[in-house]
């Protein structure tokens, strides 16, 4: 009982507020689908033996597409791709963004100037355009390259946000104290400052993950994903290419978009919960 209660307390701290709890529930559902996909899906992946353009029914909850594939099964397999691309690319982005942000925010001087100039420069060039160039010149596209491309190109905003947070932390007493006792810069940055800005990092992680999911959908829609794989983006790309609208096949169009929206929404709810709580705590400290 006490263990359960303590666990519940820990979850409530990590995912503050009702919003945070709803967000957590959404994400857990998607995680389950991503992990157990092949068990949950009613039919095998890319199985095309059904009649095309079937409306939703007991046999096909989300109908079938123009190729005769079961849309629900494709959605479930697609969850795996979108989920992992989002999560892993989000993590890569976070590592780069945090490193650049903390280093430039803490070091200041020419290091900061140089790094932030680079960030400003790259921010102007539309990220999707850069991704297109990279993806279209790769000899072959797989999930790994999608993840790498998205992960390595999405850290700019995050670096900025982490930098300004680090600059604020740099003023505080514990950093001064760490310097007095002669800690090395890298130690101060990653042992002292990093733990103190975890909420900001988490909130950013949540945002870049949703961005990664959206970027994956965009790249797949442009035909730059793994052609043998299925993701929410490829389902939509096929629906669009096969004029699903003209066949009234809303069951092919609505689910992938709503899935993306719901998934991102879960992340955003958690992120906002974390940020609100962090701000509230900070606010009290300032008073």
């Amino acid at each position: 009982m006490t263990i359960l209660r303590r666990a519940a307390g820990a979850i409530r701290t990590a995912f503050p507020g009702a919003k945070g709890m709803i967000g957590l529930a959404i994400l857990l559902a998607f995680t389950a689908i991503a992990l157990l996909g092949s068990l949950l899906a009613p039919y095998p992946k890319n199985y095309i033996e059904f009649e095309p353009w079937l409306a939703p029914s007991m046999h096909h909850w989300l109908g079938t597409d123009s190729y005769g594939q079961d849309v629900l099964s494709q959605m479930i397999y697609g969850t795996r791709t979108s989920f992992w691309v989002g999560v892993i690319a989000g993590l890569i982005t976070t590592v780069i963004g945090v490193a650049v942000g903390i280093i430039s925010g803490f070091k200041g001087g020419w290091v900061e100037e140089a790094l932030m100039r680079v960030v400003d420069l790259l921010l102007i060039i539309p990220t999707l355009a850069l991704m297109i160039i990279l993806a279209s010149f790769l000899p072959s596209m797989g999930v790994t390259s999608t993840i790498l491309i998205i992960g390595c190109l999405s850290w700019l905003y995050m670096a900025r946000s982490i930098r300004s947070q680090t600059m604020a932390e740099r003023q505080s007493g514990y950093v001064e104290a760490a310097r007095m006792v002669g800690m090395k810069d890298t130690e101060i940055m990653f042992r002292e400052i990093l733990p103190n800005i975890v909420p900001v990092i988490l909130a950013n992680l949540v945002l870049v993950t949703t961005q990664a999911v959206l970027a994956e959908a965009g790249l797949s829609f442009l035909g730059l994903g793994d052609p043998t794989n299925v993701s929410w983006g490829t389902i939509l790309a096929l629906a669009n290419a096969n004029n699903a609208v003209l066949f009234h096949a809303w069951w092919w169009i609505l689910p992938p978009g709503l899935a993306i929206a719901l998934f991102c929404f879960g992340f955003i709810l958690i992120g906002n919960g974390i940020l609100e709580k962090y701000r509230a705590n900070r606010g009290n400290a300032a008073l």
Partner: protein, 328 residues
């Protein structure tokens, strides 16, 4: 005149450097990805002519193994507006293919960005002024939703509802099939009629960011002392809201307006595919399908250049609306 030369030179210099970086990325990235530059720009098979391929190879220095030499030649050709020849549209030069597509994209994207900014501004301000109200809560919720769906999905849904079921707008394209035989007035009507839904899509899809930013900014401004003093002065609520609050909330978001332009162009790429709208996005999509590498690279450059130029314009306008900039 509020400009000072340092600010001016700084912004122009920054734009030039950005242009240079974009051009360099365009040169380097395909090579880093392991692509073969000769087949990417001058494949005799894709072009269908050994002669043309050899001429292109010479122009771009691809007959010389030195990367530096190739880079020099590439920059030189770039300055002459030579981006190579489009494989799929042989013998049209890339620059011509893009030149035809760019006005469609810029027209819809710029209109949508400005309108979206305006609408987001009004909604964000109203929300912050009465924060916590039903209006505020519901727009916040919608903004979060819109922030988490792809542009192209909204485009498909809009086509399904407004074009297919309601029949209010065409299913796609930028003009009617009979455009060639139309009078000038009819042509204008045709263009506008076809542009409404794509622009509307871009507005809705990019609205969320503006609402959130403006709302946050105004919330911060509302806690400033000058807002309190404005109230103590007995100024009318509308004057406090707009001349004091909104104007101050607007300024920090102005630079964000141009950053959002890049975001909207990114969204326009996929939206144009859905609408079969003949802009840079559709060109890029077809180029990807056809492995038309010169065109992909050209499209990237042209998107980058458009955004950089728009940014510069915004930077130059900024001192005119914020008295603190050029002097600070």
């Amino acid at each position: 005149m509020r400009y000072n030369s340092v600010y001016l030179l700084n912004r122009i210099g920054f734009s030039l450097v950005t242009l240079f970086v974009a051009a360099t990325l365009n040169f380097l990235l395909p090579r880093l990805m392991g692509g073969d530059p000769a087949s990417a720009l001058a494949s005799d098979k894709a072009l269908g002519s050994q002669q043309v391929a050899d001429a292109l190879k010479a122009q771009f220095g691809l007959d010389n193994p030195s990367l530096l030499y190739q880079y020099g030649q590439y920059l030189k050709q770039l300055l002459h507006g030579n981006l190579g020849i489009s494989y799929a549209n042989y013998p049209s030069p890339v620059i011509d293919v893009i030149g035809k597509a760019l006005p469609w994209t810029l027209g819809t994207v710029l209109t949508a960005t400005l309108l979206s900014y305006l609408v987001g501004w009004l909604i964000g301000i109203r929300g912050a002024w009465k924060s916590g109200s039903f209006f505020d809560q519901s727009t916040l919720f919608s903004a979060f939703f819109l922030n988490s769906v792809p542009f192209f999905w909204i485009a498909i849904i809009f086509i399904m509802i407004f074009s297919f079921y309601l029949g209010w707008f065409p299913l796609g394209q930028a003009v009617d099939p009979t455009y060639g035989a139309m009078s000038a007035m009819e042509k204008v009507r045709s263009v506008l009629y076809h542009a409404i839904l794509p622009v509307f899509t871009l507005i809705i899809a990019s609205l969320a960011g503006h609402i959130l930013v403006l709302r946050n900014n105004l919330m911060r401004v509302l806690s400033e002392d000058y807002m309190l003093l404005a109230k103590a002065k007995g100024l009318k609520a509308s004057r406090r809201k707009y001349a004091y609050g909104a104007r101050n909330a607007l300024l920090p978001s102005f630079t964000g307006l141009m950053t959002s332009l890049g975001h909207v162009i990114g969204g326009a790429i996929t939206t144009e595919i859905v609408f079969s709208y003949p802009g840079v996005g559709l060109v890029t999509f077809n180029a990807i399908l056809n492995h038309d590498y010169p065109l992909i690279q050209g499209a990237f450059l042209c998107i980058a250049v458009s955004v950089i130029v728009c940014n510069l314009i915004a930077d130059l306008l900024y001192p005119l609306i914020d008295p603190r900039v050029a002097l600070g």
